[in-house]
């Protein structure tokens, strides 16, 4: 990486930050409890739209992990999401009716909030259908992880997206509010991922899983990216570039070892494929607010008509993080 390209990336980062600054005007404060954020608190950042039914479990899960405060942007929900969120004691809520797409799929809004509130904090950026799993998450709170990362001088922690799906048709079992979604979506693909390196940003680009297998088997290059760097010891000069797939400065994307060893990493269990999915994908197709002209949702829409089931006989039933580690989807690294 020469001086010129590194300077270009610096300019790009400044541009994203300036854009985030501009986009902050689109955010209307609904509930600002950020004064309660204490030194060392671990924060969650989320953009969402019409996810009311998922919220109770989302909060159960992340509060149990040890998250101290949630900073959320509601993008025009009309299903009671906002009312629910503004009554949570540990949630700061902003609302916007502006275009999700033109805020680069919410990244600009969150970049602004992170710049404003996350400086010096560990910041976890997840969607409401993403559940963070890390080594020893069944016995150690997330503070144990971030303390260890601090002690090891590690600033960012990678967690690959693992798509979970049920056995049988996606809409066979309806999801109940407050329920663990992985009681329904119990299965995942354990060994069909492709990895390549992004030379520019230094991140890995991971694709595969059930979505590539079922919806993109003829156009694999269009399969969605699964690499994510959701947990970052934030600094106000940082900026996510594209969802949480990569960020700048590019050193933060180096969550993998290149010399044969394994760095510690986690997973984001993705509870997208529930009965809510077909309604959601029709709605998103209508809104046309997603990446690359929503081609992903077009593919789902077409795919769901012919292949109502993602499950196959090689699907793996989820047990715990140790299983993911043995299968090679995540790693303890040198954390013991």
């Amino acid at each position: 990486m020469g001086a010129i390209s590194s300077y270009r990336l610096r300019l790009q980062r400044k541009r994203w930050l300036a854009r985030a600054l501009r986009k902050r005007r689109e955010l209307m404060t609904i509930a600002d409890r950020t004064a309660e954020i204490r030194r060392g608190d671990i924060l969650v950042f989320t953009t969402l739209r019409n996810e009311r039914i998922r919220l109770p479990y989302f909060f159960d899960y992340y509060r149990a992990l040890g998250i101290d405060h949630f900073l959320m942007v509601d993008n025009g929900s009309d299903d009671g999401t906002r009312e629910y969120l503004q009554n949570q004691p540990d949630v700061s809520l902003w609302r916007t009716d502006s275009s999700y797409k033109r805020a680069r799929f919410g990244v600009d809004w969150l970049n602004w909030l992170q710049r404003r509130y996350a400086h010096g904090h560990w910041s976890l950026t997840v969607d409401v259908d993403e559940f963070f799993v890390y080594p020893f998450c069944d016995t150690r709170p997330i503070g144990a992880l971030t303390d260890w990362l601090d002690a090891s001088s590690i600033k960012s922690f990678g967690a690959m997206l693992v798509d979970m799906y049920p056995r049988g048709a996606l809409d066979a079992v309806p999801y109940r509010e407050g329920q663990d979604p992985f009681e329904i979506a119990q299965y995942f693909d354990n060994g069909n991922y492709t990895i390549r390196r992004n030379a520019r940003f230094g991140n890995l680009w991971i694709q595969g899983g059930p979505r590539a297998r079922a919806f993109f088997r003829d156009r694999p290059e269009r399969a969605p990216a699964l690499n994510k760097v959701p947990l970052v010891k934030w600094h106000r000069a940082y900026a996510y570039v594209s969802s949480t797939h990569m960020l700048l400065p590019r050193g933060l994307n180096q969550v993998y070892d290149e010399w044969g060893g394994e760095k510690a990493s986690g997973a984001l269990l993705h509870a997208k494929f529930l009965d809510t999915f077909s309604v959601k994908s029709a709605e998103e197709l209508e809104r046309r607010q997603h990446y690359a002209n929503s081609h992903e949702y077009k593919a789902y829409h077409a795919g769901l008509r012919d292949h109502p089931e993602l499950w196959c006989k090689w699907s793996e039933k989820y047990i715990n993080w140790r299983q993911l580690e043995i299968l090679g989807l995540m790693s303890k690294g040198n954390w013991a």
Binding site: W148, A151, S152, N227, D257, G261, E262, W314, G328, L329
Partner: protein, 566 residues
Amino acid sequence: MSVGFIMLVHTALHRARAVARHWASSGCPVVIHADRRVSRADYAGLVAGLADLDNVRFSSRVRVDWGTWSIVDATQRAAELLLEEFPGIGHVYLASGSCLPLRPVQELVAYLDSRPHTDFIESVTTMDVPWTVGGLDQERFTLRFPFSWKRRRRLFDGYVAVQRRLGYRRKMPAGIVPHLGSQWWCLSRRTLSAILDDPERERYERYFRRVWIPDESYFQTLARLYSPNIESRSLTLSKFDFQGKPHIFYDDHLQLLRRSDCFVARKIWPRADRLYESFLSNDPAVTKNAEPNPGKIDRLFAKAVEQRTRGRPGLYMQSRFPNEGWENGKTCAPYSVFEGFSDLFENFETWLGKAVGSRVHGHLFHPERVQFAGGETIYNGALSDSAALRDYAPKSFLTSLIWNTRGERQCFQFGPGDAQDIAWFIASDPNARISVITGAWAVPLFHSNANFSDVRRRAALLQRIEAEHLDILRSPHTRARLRIWSMAEFVQNPMEPLQILIDEIAPRGQRRLTEAPVMADLRGFGQFLQNLRNQGMQPHLMGDFPVGDDPETSPRRRRKPYLVKK
């Protein structure tokens, strides 16, 4: 006689307070040194919280910087205070605020009382330590280190580089031999006071003030001068990872720590409630209910370091993506590639599957679809049979397949009709066992009913591809185990090489080859090759098949199987 504790604390004061209370109320004096950086309010809280104990003292405070003299300074101050205030103690135990006693204090006292003149301090000469980080071992003692490594890394590194360039070397004070070891020791009163009261102390101090990480060398070196009886090990369990920072213990290590035979463990995560609840007790029944097995802890941490530095061979994942040449195993297990066999033999896959007792794939890199064993559309790990998905990342496809089927030998067919992108990877993989019958691709063409001009074109193409492939296999970069026969060579005596291949896959030797695979009918094959030649093509990879001199093969399918005797 009794043991006194020195505690160096800087964070998690409530935990340090609890541990100090535990020791002090068990009758052991404690002197606490709190880092200058601890805020006034926090320090006052610590002092007030221990005010009811008459055998706890606080030494004068210095600002402690990691790797510098300040730690030794703090230790000296506390040690002087402890020895002076509590004349009854026989040993001094140096601990930190994140230490936790693992065994009842009585056991420690009894242990030390029976060894009144023994000093427990890890003390090794610099030649013999494998664990220094950053390459500074001998140079710790010969260079100067005025800058903080944690806060002014650039200055630190720059100054080291300059001194190296200039060939600068400090002189060591006469009479001492540098030794290194764990910071956490337990010294007898006699040795410790001899170090502190040494008339030469000033001179040694001047020297050690500029040594790198003196807390791992000052006492370790000077103890060698005065101690009649050094036991070079630490009574504190402290494990270091590959970066030289201590491993941290959590609640889920409870059973493991019970099996340790050390008296004190470091370092404990401050929020490990269960550990503190369990071990801050002098009841042997509570703290010790398992057979000591310290090796278990060693293995756990050694494995963690191994995983971080070497990783799992053949695994490519989000946090392990080795550069070319650093894979430490391009794939995770041996596998066999057969080229030309399924062309020359009928139903070769089925036959091989029976012979070696496992599933055998067809052409995994077939241009239309992945031919998984048994015609499966999805395979282990949910690998898809889509050729597009496979060709998008052929390397990921193959390494995933081998990884997903750990414990089961993979065998597959390959040939010039397949997608060739993977060829270099396989050739350079030491796990690959490649067996080639060159020119066998001509057999299906020979049997096909297509127009001869098409056959000729196809033959030329396949021959060119296979020739290029053979160039790869024969290149000096190839690491795969290779076996190459020309077709003419192979049909002369097929059983011997087949037996070798089978033995390699299923080495136990239980599987004696009883049934030969049925070879394709080769009558007229020589004439076929001649026809190609007559059309201006030169088929050369299959070896010599003179016209009319057809090889003795087995055209009839119902031929009786024959035995190969070993």
